[in-house]
Amino acid sequence: MDVLQTTLSNGLKVLLKEIHTTPIISHWLWVKVGSRDETPGITGVSHWVEHMQFKGTPNFPAGKLDKDISRDGGYWNAMTYIDWTAYFETMPANKIDLALRLEADRMVNTYFKPEEVASERTVIISERQGNENSPMFLLDEDVQTAAFHSHPYRHEVIGTMADLQSMTRDDLYNHYKKFYTPNNAVLAIAGDFDSNALLARIQELYEGIPGDSVPPRVAKDEPEPSEERRVVTKGPGETIFVKAAYRSLRATDPDFFALSVADSLLAGPSSLNIFSGGISNKTSRLYQRLVENELAVSVSGGLQATIDPYLYDLTITVHPEKKAKDVIGPLDEEIARLQDSPPKPAELARAVKQAQALFAYGSESITNQAFWLGFAEIFDTYNWFLTYLERLEAVTPEQVQQAAQKYLRSERRVLGIYQPDGRPVAEEE
């Protein structure tokens, strides 16, 4: 295995993968905090903290850090999700020290100035309003809320509008102090470097930061769902969307790979590459049934690798001349078909070949390789990624059938419909 893995004395997990094909390094700092660590009243706090991380420290004041990275030709960004917050910089190899210093610094030294919190509040509210312009966001939010009773997965990462309006500077700062510690983070770097030299530099930068106790988690086990719930979201537009969201399973669950294959058969393979797209799904069972029969114009599936059981969703854009009920029956029949009889071995072989190709595409990008180095550490270990293909290959037709029987039962799902509310649609120019 060509990856150096170690844990510093303060608990920071470090993974380094040398790739010498091009003089580029991609540096990722993963913090184990996301919306699953939020309580009502401060929903959206993890994402807002991520925004504040661009507002400066004494060493890298606002307006300096972004310019420093750009000046060196790097690109960078940050993302907050339900289980994690990640910061990355992809840089020319000889400039990587800047990313190392910057991330070590803002792990502990971000200001959280009240005036910056105030100006960022309106930016984040604007981000949420931009999301609200999309019918799918409105539907997703309703489906998520209906899908969980108490687990924080029930609210959107961006948070509710009420919380975004009322959250205080101290709420943000306390969240930052609680979760941004070396022992709650993973540093993953891939690219053109010497691992031993880089590790020495990482030790120099991070070992002065004390490890704290691992923060307690607020996420509690959610009871198993016992009956199907239906939600109807009304809003502007002409297009109907249907979303079937089934309570899924932990990424570490042995059934995860069988459900991945089921997803691939039903709706086409999910891409594992965040910076490079997937492949089409026109031969998938649901495309064939729904789109080829002119009941829908598109269908997609999404299975995510998460810490706690989240949602496996199927999203359908209904044909302009059809209704939601026209697609729900056939959708259920296709799921029943998978539950009633195991798929053919050739279908499994195809799912594996697709996954192999997607892996080959993903490995072209150093940024993507560094992403995987850290991402899998959030819910398991890097080994999860390394053994992904072989575990997918080991799945049998019967296991796929059993996964469909176990996880795709209607009592495990929320069925959401986005129904245009009939208000006049603006005239097209």
Binding site: T22, K67, K282, R350
Partner: protein, 437 residues
């Protein structure tokens, strides 16, 4: 500490920046230009290219025709039906597709390197022997019409559509290449067949192959598949009329009931890629609305005023006079405030020299980030097509740092003043009804 160190060294390409010594460029007998570059580190291959079959050929009443044709080419060929086409692709994890544009129709796909012949064969069948089966055409039409219905609900798309109408007026760039509900509804199967028969041909077609395959071998495979294609009817691309500058500031607000946020676009027309001042404008645009957290515009509108989640500027710079504009997503109550701030920034940009620090920062940014864009097979394929489309020369990416270093502050100000006269710009806004805001 338990370190596990095991460091295999990969095979290195000659240089990470493509140049004349490692790009193979061949012109086939029928005029197709083939560009190829091997990436010995990749198991995959990317195929991309374009033909001169864009929406410039569309009649107004059937706008969207070129786009419809490109999207329909893979719905069935003389050799394979729709199902068989996608079965061959998806069963090996490959992807391939065609889509319409203004000047050209584009195509692209990728596969494991050994499957390149399949991608080429699908390209060949789609381009030369499409059958446009009626049932498939109707399925596709429903998808296109749904896309247009979603566009009508998308504030960003609608702001952009209206911006083009305001700025380009009777110039062909005023038209939306995907068409409108009525024009797409009016297109018949015969229209598709006739457009394809007349317009599609090898003249002006360019194709790039990049990945884990030797360049010579890639060229040979393209030659075997496509060199015997002819279309004696193929017309030349219609000449673009000259774009006439706006005479005053124009604006339009398009209400979309029920939305939460407004999107606004402010700007006019910038240089074509071939214009001598394009690179100065491009570097200037980086200062105006890209560098760091979206340049000066991002700093003023987002960072200081907190008015928007996104605010940036964009310079089109394609085959013709593309737009040069600032875009932002704002709360409907802040539309005027944001517009005023953006106009102030545009005035500062056209009236004053950028600072030494700004130009130096942006030069380093351009030069440093260029290799990052060439990391993947897709990135290199795009670079090769860019070089061919705009006749930049095979060594363009190696000359690039020197070209950037030579740009002066005065050249940026002159380009800005020439293209962005403050009183002759368009303001386009799409957002909720005023009463809802």
């Amino acid at each position: 500490m338990n370190a596990v160190v095991n460091l295999p060294k990969q095979k290195l390409p000659l240089s990470s920046i493509p140049g004349a010594d490692d790009i193979t460029r061949v012109v086939l007998a029928n005029g197709i230009v083939v560009l190829a570059r091997e990436n010995p580190n990749s198991q995959a291959v990317t195929l991309r290219g374009y033909l001169l079959a864009g929406s410039l050929f569309d009649p107004d009443e059937k706008l969207g025709l070129a786009d419809f044709v490109a999207s329909a080419l893979m719905r069935g060929t003389a050799k394979r039906e729709f199902q068989a086409i996608y079965d061959s692709l998806e069963s090996i994890g490959a992807s391939f597709g065609l889509s319409g544009g203004t000047h050209t129709a584009g195509f692209g796909g990728r596969s494991l390197a050994e499957d390149l012949p399949l991608l080429l064969e699908l390209l060949n069948e789609s381009l030369r022997r499409p059958t446009f089966p009626k049932t498939q055409v109707e399925k596709l039409r429903a998808q296109l019409l749904t896309g247009l219905a979603l566009r009508a609900q998308d504030t960003r798309d609608m702001a952009s559509l209206i911006f083009d109408v305001l700025v380009y007026r009777d110039h062909p760039y005023a038209r939306a290449e995907e068409g409108h509900t009525q024009t797409v509804g009016a297109i018949t199967v015969d229209d598709l067949v006739n457009f394809h028969k007349k317009i599609y041909g090898p003249n002006g077609m360019v194709l790039a192959v990049v990945g884990g395959i030797e360049a010579e071998k890639a060229v040979a495979e393209v030659r075997t598949t496509l060199e015997d294609w002819q279309n004696l009817e193929q017309p030349t691309v219609p000449q673009l009329p000259e774009w006439k500058p706006l005479e005053s500031r124009v604006s339009k607000r398009h209400p979309i009931p029920g939305k939460s946020q407004s999107d606004l676009i402010i700007g006019t027309v910038g240089p074509a890629r071939s214009a001598p001042d394009y690179m100065a404008a491009n570097l200037g645009n980086n200062i105006l609305g890209h560098f760091g957290l979206m340049g000066r515009v991002g700093d003023v509108v987002r960072e200081q005023a907190g008015l928007a989640y996104y605010a940036y500027s964009n310079l089109g710079g394609g085959s013709g006079p593309g737009p040069w504009a600032v875009a932002a997503g704002v709360n409907p109550a802040n539309e005027e405030k944001a517009t005023d701030l953006i106009f102030k920034e545009l005035a500062r940009f056209t009236d004053e020299l950028v600072t030494e620090e700004e130009i130096s920062d942006s030069k380093s940014n351009f030069i440093g980030s260029m290799p990052l864009s060439l990391e993947t097979n897709g990135g290199v394929a795009e670079a090769l097509l860019n070089v061919e489309r705009h006749k930049l020369g095979l060594d363009y990416y190696r000359r690039f740092p020197d070209e950037i270093r030579a740009i002066t502050r005065e050249q940026i100000r002159d380009a800005a003043a020439h293209y962005l006269p403050n009183e002759k710009m368009a303001v386009s806004i799409a957002g909720p009804n005023r009463a809802e805001a």
